[in-house]
Amino acid sequence: MLFTLIIQHSPQQSHGPRNALQFAKELINQNHRIYRLFFYREAVELASSLPVYTSDESNIQVEWQAFIKEYNLDAVVCIAAALRRGILDQTEANRYHKTAHNMNENFTLSGLGQLVDAVVSSDRVIRF
């Protein structure tokens, strides 16, 4: 089956991102396909390349990024949610004359239309 996962919370506030990653890995193990990952609200921070984790903590950020890269997944970050939380790619940083950009290259900024498209195109939509 074709799945879309919606992730809404940051790893500091919720177990959701960890749960979502374990679920996504199991989907692949069971030969399902992932149509899209949609990061909304506080979950946009998972797309940042800046967070620093201590050595005795699992780095959910790096794990998500590696997973997305390994399976070449469509990881969409809601642009409105990202901008107001300071997650910017190079294009947006230039557009708004910001001194830096921080978005990991495995993600794409886009609008809520991608969420609607994902819902329409998927067999199952699971939110975390």
């Binding site: 919606i6 909304y40 609200r41 409105a80 949610a81 107001r84 609008g111 809520l112 239309g113 969420l115 609607v116 498209d117 819902v119 329409v120 939509v125 939110r127």
Partner: protein, 120 residues
């Protein structure tokens, strides 16, 4: 485009950060792309529908305007859960005209019918 119905459950009050705005943005997105969408306000979400809001006093953007613009996007009505209103001593006449009261049974039916339920 095939149609898959979305149900957005809104449980958060307005003006505690921007959760209420991001909830409404999601409702509008489904509407704008011509997908069937229903919005049900319950628990503290009923506060979002109170009329005569003056959020400029706390430097917040007025949610009323966005809610009143829903009919332009094809959503003539939003539902509000009656029991949540009663618990908060709110009458239907305290709410914006687009609010329509529903009971738990109607909410359960909406939940079963929807392809996806998103909760804010």
């Amino acid at each position: 485009m095939t149609k898959k119905s979305a149900l957005i459950l809104i449980t958060c009050p307005p003006y505690d950060g921007i959760k209420h705005r991001e909830a409404l943005d999601t409702v509008l997105a489904f509407s704008a792309f011509d997908q069937p969408v229903s919005a049900v306000f319950l628990h503290d979400g009923v506060f979002q529908l109170l009329n005569e809001q003056k959020p400029e006093l706390i430097a917040q953007k007025n949610a009323e305007k966005m809610l009143n613009s829903l009919p332009m996007f094809g959503l003539d009505q939003v539902q509000v859960l009656g029991s949540s209103m009663v618990q908060r001593n709110i009458l239907l006449s305290d709410l914006l005209p687009i609010a329509k009261e529903i009971d738990q049974a109607a909410l359960n039916a909406l939940i079963s019918e929807a392809f996806i339920v998103l909760t804010f």
